[in-house]
Amino acid sequence: MPSDLADVLHYFLPEVGEPGALDAAARRKRSDRRDPQEPKRIASLPLVAIPIGDQDVVRAAFAWNLAVETARLGGRAAVVAPASDDTSSLWPGHGVEPMGADVILTPAANLAALYRDALDVAVDRALDADDGGIVFVRVPPLWLRNPESGNSLLRWTLLFTSSDNRDLLETYGLAKLLCRPGSRASRLGVTIHGARRIEEAETAFHRLASCATRYLGRELTSYGLLVDDLHVYRAIVAQRPIGLVNPQSAAARSLRDVAELVLEDARKTAVV
């Protein structure tokens, strides 16, 4: 399991061979951490909760694109989100399901209901998930103010943040909210987006991780970084997956790497 950015820095190096492929050393490192036993048939795909504001088109796009990349890597993937008129612009239109990664809108009005609906999807998709998969769940951040009823949904959370101070403060605050007494949050993942240099992303993650350790007594898990470039925003506007629109771009490669990290952990976490 990656615990810092050192595991993912390789993708900034010139790639040799297949685009998006990991270098040999990194592959060996990852395969060494895999469970040597054959995976058992899973009963339910893992749920990854992602707090996304009602108007946060960028984070919603990241979540959807992660689902698409997960599917491209061979896993089953879906995004579950509460249906709301205010958030209809967050997701691609009906019928847009690249690689079978679709967005499922539910009438859930609270965390408990959202958890039940997401679990239904997770169990359903596990039936033919021979190579694992993930159900990403969009959680309205305002619902986190009263998480007690839907604690189980928040066991594994992925937070997207830029290296901007205000964003980092907000992300730290979300981590604090998720770690309140009685919380079941056991894995807090962080992906840095928009970094212009590796060092910037490293610094941002370590600032967060350091504060989480010192003030919350919790460890954060790094899930790499996403490179924002023009292709990301064009893809968002066009509502097409980044990995399909421009698979050779740094943005697509970084997205694939993040998806690999998350899927790897999901395969170890799946309920059997």
């Binding site: 088109v57 907000e170 979300l174 909210l177 925003y233």
Partner: protein
């Protein structure tokens, strides 16, 4: 900008150069809402310039425009024209500068400042709604520590409902006109006030130097506030 001097030491003064006003607005914006980012100043748009272009924490674009005395109605008209010019260009701006974090689905908002707003301007703004335009008045003031700008946002109920101006016109004492927030109601023309002739000008209500803080000032992109996240001062300082 302004420390908190004794209220008795405050008096209204004549308007200062426009450049000083814009600089004061930039400083005040940063203090009131740390998440508000000023992107540009004097941006040439539809025939004229936009004083300030900013983006708030949620990625919404805000156009700040300042008018002089008796220019409030023209200011609103000009602002609407600028907004119409900017709105279809946000997508292009996002392509050119993705790091701005602009939201394509958020309507461009206007923030207009003038010494006063007449009833028809208030009524017009009321029709447009708070999501489109917010109005604030500004006054130059002299205190024991220096000169500054007093900015007061107009509450939504005062826009479009009350027929009276925030600052009643001279001789207008109709009961339908609401009492201004600053007492006594100053003339809309800013002139140095002689204390001997205008002793009332030194009587200022409590909270004058603390402009109404907009609720959105402390909210993050997620809509949660610092209070929701229970952040301590020490934790906050870690990310400054």
């Amino acid at each position: 900008m302004l420390a908190r001097p004794p209220l008795s030491d405050l008096s209204y003064i004549a308007a200062r150069p426009r450049s000083e006003l814009i600089a004061a607005l930039r400083h005040r914006a940063a203090r009131l809402d740390p998440s508000l980012r000023i992107l540009a100043q004097d941006l040439l748009a539809a025939d004229t310039t936009i004083d300030l272009v900013a983006v708030d924490a949620s990625g919404r674009l805000i156009l700040v425009m300042v008018g002089n005395v008796d220019e409030d109605l023209a200011l609103l008209t000009r602002a609407l024209a600028q907004r119409a010019w900017v709105a279809p260009r946000v997508r292009d701006w996002l392509q050119l500068a993705p790091a701005l974090g602009l939201r394509l689905d958020a309507p461009v908002k206007l923030s207009l400042l003038a010494p006063s707003f007449r009833p028809e301007t208030l009524a017009a703004a009321g029709v447009l709604g708070a999501e489109v335009v917010e109005l604030s008045t500004y006054r130059w003031v002299q205190t024991s520590v220096g000169v500054g700008v007093l900015i007061e946002g107009l509450d939504a109920p005062r826009i479009g409902r009350h027929p009276g101006s925030v600052y009643p016109e001279q001789g207008d004492t109709g009961p339908q006109n609401p009492a201004p927030r600053v007492s006594p109601a100053p003339s809309p023309i800013l002139t140095p006030l002689d204390p001997a002739e205008h002793p009332g000008a030194r009587a200022t209500p409590p909270g004058l130097l603390e402009p109404r803080r907009r609720e959105s000032a402390a909210r993050f992109r997620t809509g949660l506030s610092e209070e929701d996240l229970n952040l301590t001062a020490k934790e906050t300082r870690e990310f400054e």
